[in-house]
Symmetry: D2
Subunit: 402 residues, 4 copies
């Protein structure tokens, strides 16, 4: 048992932290100004491209991707880097070409894509030239159960024809978004986990109608591409756009799930660290009732509990990454669900207290806290609500006794 990061990780953490301090954090207000000055909510801000170029130059690029296509890190090595990016969740992941859902989409293409698919879509994604979206969730059904999916992917000659309605397709409002990976049912009569397929759909295919951007609390998340509601109306794509093969949709979804959870959770831990830092700065600099707010016992309790909960959740997330690296997704099933439940709870609580410590500024546009909260709050819901995961964990625990 060894709780120290390895040398490669330590070196990358140092480089990344330096880059964040020098380039990313100072660029946060610039991003907001550029977006405010733009004609459209869905503009791609120039500052992002400047930073991407710098990051790539330094080799801080595609760190999430194992194998030769990417930086070749293990989950355990990448996790602490995702945490650092999470300190600036709107800006940093894209700067290092590590932002969801592109990361998951690239993983899928790297693992399951044909040479043509890789050439056409993976290459520009790896180069950070285009963005992509993943169309899974549907408004009409409980999306935590993949068998509920209503969207159809039907073979018709050399094509597949797609019909359905998706929402919360992250990133699809961005003008850079060029391709959608769509999950749908190709064979509703097949065995439960063989009914689904995933298929590549260029965003400009006739019949693809992006209807609106979803709001999260009052935010439209234009800064990282929004979340679209998209109608697929007799959308026809070549049969070769299918990924891995008909009926492989569920297996592909499972494959992306594990690393996705690690990334989400580690970024969330970075968000919690950021909120804790902001809270500490605020309470040491503000006074009330004759002393710094930092001297108040209740605030100290918040800070201690934040430190404790960050540490425990980070360790469990790292252990999960280690399990995935050593025994695979299946062997890490319980832990993957555990962090899916535990980390959002931790981060929403810490951000909420940081808000409280800031008073009215905390809920306003003058700190990133309200926006962090909105983002953290969604983690209790995306990829299945907490309750579904707790239920599943409990069943696995109880199996030992039945």
């Amino acid at each position: 048992m060894d709780f120290g990061y390895d040398d490669r990780t330590e070196q990358l953490r140092a480089q990344l932290t330096e880059f964040m301090d020098e380039h990313v954090h100072p660029a946060e207000p610039v991003l907001h100004e550029q977006l405010a000055a733009a004609d459209s909510r869905w503009t791609h801000a120039p500052i992002i491209d400047e930073l991407k170029a710098k990051a790539r130059e330094r080799g801080l690029w595609n760190l999430f991707l194992p194998g030769a296509d990417g930086a070749g890190l293990t989950n355990l090595q990448y996790a602490p880097l995702a945490e650092i990016m999470g300190r600036s969740p709107t800006l940093a992941p894209e700067v290092f070409n590590c932002s969801a859902p592109d990361t998951g989409n690239m993983e899928v293409l790297a693992e399951f894509g044909t040479p043509q698919q890789r050439e056409r879509w993976l290459k520009p994604l790896l180069d950070g030239e285009i963005r992509s979206a993943f169309c899974m969730t549907e408004p009409e059904v409980a999306s935590s159960d993949a068998t509920n999916i209503g969207t159809r992917i039907e073979r018709d000659g050399d094509s597949y024809v797609i019909n359905g309605r998706k929402w919360w397709s992250s990133g699809a409002m961005s003008p850079r978004c060029k391709v959608l990976i769509v999950m749908g049912k190709s064979d509703p009569e097949a065995e439960r986990h063989r009914q689904q397929s995933q298929i590549l759909v260029p965003v400009d295919t006739p019949g693809v109608r992006i209807e609106r951007g979803m709001h999260v609390f009052g935010y439209d998340d234009g800064d990282h591409g929004g979340h679209a509601e998209i109608v697929f109306d007799d959308v026809r794509v070549p049969a070769e756009n299918i990924i891995s093969g008909e009926g492989e949709g569920f297996a592909i979804a499972q494959a992306r799930l594990g690393p996705g959870r690690i990334h989400h959770c580690m970024r969330a831990i970075g968000m919690a660290e950021r909120a804790l830092e902001l809270m500490c700065r605020r309470v040491t600099s503000r006074r009330a009732f004759g002393g710094p707010i930092a001297d108040q016992g209740v605030v100290q309790q918040w800070i201690a509990d934040a430190r404790i909960n960050i540490e425990t959740n980070r360790l469990l997330t790292l252990k999960t990454a280690w399990l995935m690296d050593t025994v695979g997704n299946k062997g890490a099933h319980t832990e993957i669900q555990a962090i899916k439940v535990a980390v959002p709870q931790m981060v929403t609580t810490i951000v909420d207290r940081a808000i409280q410590a800031h008073g009215a500024a905390g809920v306003s546009q003058d700190t990133p806290l309200a926006s962090l909260y909105a983002h953290a709050r969604t983690l209790h819901i995306v990829d299945g609500p907490d309750e579904v995961h707790r239920r599943s964990m409990a069943r696995r625990e109880l199996k030992k006794y039945r």
Copy 2:
């Protein structure tokens, strides 16, 4: 001891509920459409005026105001009506001319205003023709302590000259807002609670600069007038604009506090009832894992706890209203603080769970829940953070033992 509402209250509750069901709730989407279609975020939507006319016609008008100027209800009689309005917090209070901060401003003018002040400002406010704002909170200081105020109100001949910076002046972004009540220091050398004055400032007075609207979790609250940051730069108003007299500012602020808390808390209870209703409707109409979500034990626990906490908090708020009516604000001090702490806790928890029960729809623009949450969350902060009130309550409790 008697826990039943009196006849007048029951009658008004019935009328108000009927009006809400017939006119207000159906108008909620209309309001959002009108605002979305308007050129500016700060438009006054026509639907509001239509509803105001209807409400006034039925005598559902100025219900908050005791005495001959208003409906003449006690706090205990008005409280359950405020709850009903709180079910649609964006729209209903203004429809019945019972929306903050106009209510507090009208109370102040009714109690402390000169005949001229009443004629010029109270009358059009009572008629719902103009709106007003209350400028108290400042960005640079902990506003929970009135002695911290930095804004100056200085006598200069027949005028007062005002200098300072305020923020979170609710309603001041509205084009209908015509007058500001400004709290400032007229004599920093006076005894602690005689340093402040309140003064009427027409919003178009030279030197009044509305700088920006504050956001709350991404919302700008344009639908009810926003929250402005305002600079007062050598703003000169006639000396007769002072309210009640120099040094009376703190006493006036105290006078408005009690009823304001009751109103806030009862509206918040209405918000909680609305959220609980939405949650119940959702879980009875959605299915997951082979049955309605309503059959899940965790959801049932949320619902039972919501019912319990609404009941207990409503009773304490009503008792507080009764105490204010029978023994005055001072005698109700502990209870006023208790509801200030307890009710926000109750309502944020219930709204948060209603969000969770809705999944992704809960955080989106498709339900009022995320917006209710943002509003509820601010109640932990406005008029002093929870922690300040708990501390003060504890000191009063401990006094018995020292």
Copy 3:
């Protein structure tokens, strides 16, 4: 709506409080000394009889019992008196002849007893000469569902014969306990709520075997009669011992439930007030880190929250009593369940924090806190666990929407 106690209540509260201060609280250590010095854990301590005589003399006697047999108070009038007794839950209720389960048993005999039953058992109970137990809960089944009961009550000629095993029969270890009211099944084939009967069993009837006293945490509760596990082995009693008639057992149980809940909850509120008082005394008298513990923010938060939660829970309990008085048990169903869930939560939290404020003394025999905690903890379980009541409440709430 009126939140003031009536005159009779205020007068009795004053008398009772005076008696508690003068006689009951000073007797607490005496009781423990007498018990420690006794040969058996199940001794009846002489101090109790002294206090009972004094209380009866002053008319502070059988206050719980409505009608001519008792003090004739309503539930709403008795509730605040039960709260005062709850401040010393081990001693006070018995001193005023208001201790469970005698109270419920007396109510049952007063309402359903034959003249002979009343003469033989009710009279000495009203006089405080004997004690009684109620045998309902069974070790083998989930007792929250009365239809689960396994004990049999079978007619055999002029007798009934009882067979079964009961536990947690409160008070049955006391040497003064002379009679048991036993709930059992007389007709397992009857309609669900007509299967049960209740019957009077003198404790010395052959076949009644008191096997052991149950512990609650490490306490055997010898000071108020313990909780027995009792075997009924062919226990034969005259047919006239049946209460109200065969098949009436469930109805009788329901009748005692409402007032029982009010009593339990109000005593629990008294326990919370006692714990809060002890906490305040402790933190004002102890110093740490250069000041009284009372100055620590976390402790102040505990105290404020305790005050808030006591107030809200008391109001809901009083409203429940009022509803029972005005619309009956049925009309108060939701509220009776609400206080069953809410009050134990409140009191365990407050007592737990009072313990924490006392450090090691808090868990020891040197304060009543650990014993209060053990008692409060059982309230989450007796008469059905919290979860069952929440579930039932939720179902009633959801009915409006199905």
Copy 4:
């Protein structure tokens, strides 16, 4: 980074688990029977000696002690073994000669003892022939601050004379307890952390008066030696009984603190695992409302949260052990405090829910749960209350920003 136990640890875990299953768990009821049948609460039950002999035979002995005197394990290697023992906290630690406070006392003697002290006291302790107590806490002062200590240790010729009052001296009620390590002030004028000394006092020294055993929630903990209140009245011991030297008391106390925390926390995690197992067994074997209790959503939530919190807390405790092994107590300061706060919170919550899942049986003597709860509850208090550690953690966190 590596989250797997090393080979030696895995082997010992297997051996220990086997011994627990074969010998310790079956002996739990035997212990209670032997104690119940004994004349005195403070008897040493014969079953313990039988098991000790068996354990020693298998080399499962003094596992806690690093170096040649003991099993020579690191903190990281011993921690998972302490967890296994914690599953039966009353019995197992003593069986393996790993029970507090003997462990700490042996560590102190091994590290600081003179050859004579080691021969006279360490040897029989290592052999499990005698027991010992540690007398630190005092009734009159907040013991979380070592500078508060009132007991005096004064040099008089060739002797030291000890005067003072201690309580919660664990194990001192046992007839096997032969020696006390007493912490007291030898020089109140010295520098803050040089005022204290520790000294060995044979329990039969004249002037040592064991006054009473302290209760914990009604338990006297006779099964593992109780917690004594002891008066030292002119107790005279030879000067050579001082440990390490005058003024070394604080340093010695610090040295024992780190390992002690790890042991306490890992045992507590074992308690939590035991409670979770009991909960799972109960809910899979009991039915209510037409199905096993295990199918209820609320219970599933408890189980999932229990699993999550056990995992996160275990990882943090193991990391703390690793830090102590690699960078020493000082470098692990934050983590030592973090587990001191986090682990008790986790274990009390899990045990409390396990109690609730058992209904009335949960609070009774029929399961170990109520006793586990009482033990777990004290962990929030011993070695300084949670609040003191949170405050200290917060100050360290805030230092970075001042």
